[in-house]
Symmetry: none
Amino acid sequence: MAQDVQRSPERAKRLPRPVREKQILDAAVEVFSRHGYHLASMDEISDVAGVSKPMIYSYLGAKEELFGHCVRRESQRLLEAVRDGVRADVPPDMQLWHGLRSFYGFVAAYRESWIVLHRHALTAGGPFAEEITALRARAVALVRDLVVSAGTERGLASQAEFSGEGMAAALVGAAESLADWWLDHPDVADGVLASWLMNLTWLGFNDLVEGRVWRPTEPAE
Amino acid sequence: MAQDVQRSPERAKRLPRPVREKQILDAAVEVFSRHGYHLASMDEISDVAGVSKPMIYSYLGAKEELFGHCVRRESQRLLEAVRDGVRADVPPDMQLWHGLRSFYGFVAAYRESWIVLHRHALTAGGPFAEEITALRARAVALVRDLVVSAGTERGLASQAEFSGEGMAAALVGAAESLADWWLDHPDVADGVLASWLMNLTWLGFNDLVEGRVWRPTEPAE
Amino acid sequence: MAQDVQRSPERAKRLPRPVREKQILDAAVEVFSRHGYHLASMDEISDVAGVSKPMIYSYLGAKEELFGHCVRRESQRLLEAVRDGVRADVPPDMQLWHGLRSFYGFVAAYRESWIVLHRHALTAGGPFAEEITALRARAVALVRDLVVSAGTERGLASQAEFSGEGMAAALVGAAESLADWWLDHPDVADGVLASWLMNLTWLGFNDLVEGRVWRPTEPAE
Amino acid sequence: MAQDVQRSPERAKRLPRPVREKQILDAAVEVFSRHGYHLASMDEISDVAGVSKPMIYSYLGAKEELFGHCVRRESQRLLEAVRDGVRADVPPDMQLWHGLRSFYGFVAAYRESWIVLHRHALTAGGPFAEEITALRARAVALVRDLVVSAGTERGLASQAEFSGEGMAAALVGAAESLADWWLDHPDVADGVLASWLMNLTWLGFNDLVEGRVWRPTEPAE
DNA sequence: AATGAATGAGTTTTCATTCAT
DNA sequence: TATGAATGAAAACTCATTCAT
């Protein structure tokens, strides 16, 4: 049978720097996702990483900088996941569809990353609010482009009932909210979530394009 | 002759307890909304309230409890604002419409309260996540009832493309996201936001009800 | 019999702020003089002061600022001691004489202050080197004025063998060095030290004034 | 053809031990003189030396010991410089004159060494204060012997106005102070400094020898 | 009722120092 | 020999919280 691993609990084995950096980042994401930025302690991170605090400081900087590394790595991951999932040679609705599926794929695969990005990065203070806002802005812009291109190509005049950016913001929020909801209902398949969103929003959008508009049936006070 | 009032210069005037509590809560909401739970300091709150720290502790408890009071008061306000805006004797879409307008009315009137509830309550740690989640769950349930009643009364069988709760969660998220977006685009009228949402989602929902369904145009791998 | 003092060793009695500030400064000077800036710990200072660390930070700032307060207070003391000891209506030599006596009086009365100023302030890093250099420059300038006035009034042309500033610097250094020496020979009276200095330097200076010059008896190299 | 040397790029060449030790000591003196003992970091020393930290520890010991090596080497240098400059077969004043010139020669040639010895060794804590005090005591004793021999040979009875040791201490302090002053006025020739000192102090000393004494013109309170 | 004065307890951060290769 | 990798230990500092007046 396989020989028991040599456990020298006192001193960590010597490992090349990139490996240690990954270990530390993984631990940091885990702890930050569990407690949030402020309640996470460097002590716990170093425990989870199996590495002493000075290593963390030496490799990835102080707490704020460490958090920054986490946010950047996970943002990158999310962007790449979505970008890789979307094909440019299909109609806008299918692009959106693929994008949503990729997004939920990411959320499923990197639950903790998503929690850090979505729940904790905004309240950490420092420059992170801006980074996250920028990330979100990219997502909104992407969706807006899809929506607008789909609209204009079919002659959607600019109406009061329509706003590419506003609707994109709404859609992104809906997708995020559903992701949150999903965390508590994990038995739903990711494709189903995406399907709900498409049916809820894209159909409505199509109606708009075709001139059907919802208006309040009585004067709004 | 001039009456020689005993002037103890810095000493706050004796005020009835409810007035003091309001002062403190207002200050707390302001400070919490500005810095978030963890970065807000009791010192700053007492400064802004114009009241010494021991008063805060004696009237409203420790930091966590104080934050709880804030969250509860503002939740209450939000719920009442929406409840008061909605009339039960109109069709579901109009109920939703009124609810949305009331919601945005609240966000406009109580910007700071909204920020505390939406952005900071989840990351405070402690029991607040649950309180906020409960509040949100109430909102989702409300919307879900609207959606479901509108659906069933028109014979919407349960399809894979439909989920009352899921869609309600999505809609609530969309509304919140638009509220956030609004904070950076304050020149848009609140009715317009509500209108966008109605058109984006309700029309799509109507399509569903009437049997129009969006499906991917190619097998989703 | 006298009632035993109420000793509540845990919590310090409530005292007005200025009193506490003095306590803290005294303790800080003691500890800084004993260990120097870097080896002094805030913990020890708070112990010696009989006050918790947060009070120190709240009243007198962080370590560097605290040290600054010490340096400034003791500089002030030294300057005042010398200024008060010197009378303007006497000849330059007597002014110097009185200044020296006052200086040694200060060193005797405030041994620790002198050690902080002379030995530790220069190596603390930060802005203290400059403060101390400035203090010393003031002393040198004072002495230089005495020397120069004494010299010019008796027609001392500028010779290579003479430099008001240089000699003042030398004299100040001699005085300081003797102060150090005194720390290890405390049985010498302060007036004696001043007398030595006057005889060593002022007589020589008088010689210069009267045209007697020392020159090497063989070509320098 | 180009010889493909095995290049292990960062690895320092194997060097004989004394060379390495010199490298390290030079770097240490540089860094200590720049930052003082406490603010100097072993990291910076190893950087400047171009040698890894474990080498330093293995060759010259821990920080305190390393500093000790620096202090001893530079003390030695200073002593030798002065000793080599002084000739025993000349009158005392000329011996002093040569000693001073040698001293200033050393300060000019080994600025950093002087700074370490004069400014930083006293505040390092540990045994260095004593070493430096001992060094200084040797200098004082040397000067005292000169002074005393010059005095006794010309029949200077022990008067209150005279003290071989005290005056030597003063003279040494004056010389040091002038060395400091020189650091900020580098355009003065070293011979000039020595000349100032001789004229300031030696003439005065001669006066003493010849019975001229300075006394306060009014009773010293 | 109201507060200035005071602190316990915890955190981040930075060294000098040493393994293990 | 020579070093990158690793850490123990201790420092400064900052809160929320409470006592005594």
